[in-house]
Symmetry: C2
Subunit: 372 residues, 2 copies
């Protein structure tokens, strides 16, 4: 509807109304190149996670720069990606329930799709759904490599599930999903390195069993922005699933990157906001609250404005604390760096893509709200 | 798009795919009646806050039961309400910037609109926009009654701003906005009562100055679900802006309600979720994470399922801790009570309205994402 169009192409950023989700195209493109350069000479493929951006325009740009496909978390997210022209999607997650399996197998008819499993009953259901749809479905075993979320335990339990997939007529065993989500925001480089080292030994225990049984593992996939260089250097991982590197949110920016081999990505994603109230000398209120910038991983950071701190969010208001001598006039616009990019993107219908201060494009966030 | 349709009318709830936002119509209707009954005999009007529901279908039902209109926080939210048939909207917030003022004054031509102000410069801009549009705009002075967010200070500063509005040819002084947001989640009844007592004395200081000057204040508006009975009993407030009472989220449910006169509203809003992984005896993973239930005010609560606690949310996963002896089978569906209803509603495009276990309607959340 018209009241949701956030900007006009060609409009100066200064005139874009607030709040809006701004993507700085130069910084975004530099981040994509930086990641590629950091992996030069490594025998590893990139499959960025699209749950961060939910946008086929971005997925296609990642693939144009060499990514082999994208990851999604939900069938509906994958549908949006395929509809938008992304032809290779790994659902890096379990898919449960007849309704979703039907959609999953339908999608596998029109794109290169793989899915994860961590449960024998679910593998049986995946096989039945694939048979009903007349497809052969690629299924990876998700292994718990330390995040203690989903995933079977490494070694024998993972091997047994892989065997079940292998023996299912309508499924194809397509490797191991081994994402150490708990490692990504460990602040110290050494902590992250150690967590991935531990994950690698769990993967190795599993791949050794597979090799012994004569069904070698063709793909180990995992990694995130916080750790991907450790997986890349391991020679155990074949695919990297980093997602946030294109945006670089405030939470990731708190990580220590020294001696990680991971470049310092720039902030490219911003919430554009206006000062809507100047009620006291030490306080200004902006029009972006927790419906404009997700606070699950902390408050947004005010970009490039010394002496101004975003200290509190309510639904539609943000409270800025002003250092002594700092004043922001009513209507003043500024950029916030979201605490956590993924759920912030999920609040908007479009990226307002800006280059050198001018709106160059509006990219629909096609998979916004894609929960099913 | 088709992949976002969350349910079919007539479908049993058990068959509705997950995650989905469920509205239990019986509980919702009881909550609306309970609030009305609690105000019987009080000389006070109800103007529920639509930022909680963002849904004209709900706004119209509230008005059918006697509400004089709704509140919104954003012009775009108000546009969605007016487009959906709600004819009376107070924007209980400041509106700043030429683009928004133009839309605000256009909206004032087709519905009964009022807006708040807390700044002299903004009042001047409101007057100019009203003149340009050829409308007379209703403007309330927002007074800081203790929340320390927006609002001028009570007494002289509020009086001076009211005078400026009064003297502006194209504006009509329409009362005081006096919402004590900071009081709503104070856990103890007595703390909330004391905060509203303090707010009332700040309002009185201001209305006395207005009466002295011969321009009595026609409307004092404010209150939320946590405190509304204190404002109702004050005889100072004319309008109550409670919003969450229709849903009753997990955060509000932690308030002590004894001797408040506020009824115990029922949970009517739920996130419907499935167990998607059973990786350990003490842990189950559900498919609703922080993109399905906002965690800004704490984790969702598992409804009606003793021994099961939602302890951690990531983007698309929720970790349930299972007490000893409790097991949830793969695919098992359960209801979560969101921590905070407003930002949770803002994640979905529809309410799946259920009565006695059957889907009765899908109500579009027309103002989802309405930030401008």
């Amino acid at each position: 509807m018209s009241y949701y169009t956030p900007a006009q192409i060609g409009q100066p950023l200064a005139d874009v109304d607030t709040p809006a989700l701004i993507l700085d195209l130069d910084a975004f493109e530099r981040n994509m190149r930086l990641l590629n350069e950091s992996l030069a000479g490594r025998n590893v493929k990139l499959r960025p996670h699209a749950k961060s951006h939910k946008c086929p325009e971005i997925g296609k740009r990642q693939m144009a720069l060499g990514a082999v496909g994208v990851c999604c978390q939900k069938v509906s997210e994958a549908e949006a990606m395929v509809d938008g022209g992304v032809g290779d999607v790994l659902i890096a997650n379990e898919v449960v329930g007849a309704a979703k399996l039907k959609r999953l197998t339908a999608l596998a008819k029109r794109a290169n799709i793989a899915v994860c499993a961590d449960n024998s009953e679910n593998v049986t259901a995946l096989g039945a759904a694939a048979q009903a749809a007349g497809v052969t479905l690629n299924v990876l075993v998700e292994v718990n490599v330390g995040a203690n979320r989903c995933g079977v335990e490494p070694g024998e339990p993972a091997f047994r599930l892989a065997k079940q997939i292998h023996e299912s007529k309508h499924l194809r065993f397509a490797g191991l999903q081994a994402y150490q989500g708990g490692a990504q925001h460990l602040r110290k480089t050494e902590e992250r390195r150690a967590a991935i080292k531990a994950a690698c030994s769990m993967v190795k225990r599993t791949t050794a069993l597979l090799a012994q049984a004569g069904s070698p593992c063709e793909r180990v996939t995992g990694a995130g922005t916080g750790s991907y260089m450790f997986e890349a250097a391991s020679t155990i991982y074949h695919e990297l699933q980093a997602g946030s590197y294109i945006f670089m949110d405030a939470d990731y920016a708190k990580n220590d990157w020294t001696e990680s081999g991971i470049p310092r990505f720039e902030h490219s994603l911003f919430v554009w906001t206006s000062v809507m109230s100047c009620p006291a000398a030490d306080r200004a209120i902006v029009d972006a609250g927790l419906k404009a910038s997700s606070v699950d991983s902390g408050m947004p950071r005010v970009f490039d404005t010394p002496g101004v701190e975003y200290i509190k969010a309510s639904d539609e208001h943000g409270v800025l604390k002003l250092a002594s001598g700092i004043a922001l006039p009513l209507g003043h616009k500024l950029k916030l760096v979201p605490g956590h990019c993924d759920p912030t993107v999920n609040l908007y219908d479009h990226y307002v893509c800006v280059r050198k201060g001018v709106v160059e494009a509006l990219w629909p966030i096609a998979a916004r709200g894609a929960l099913l």
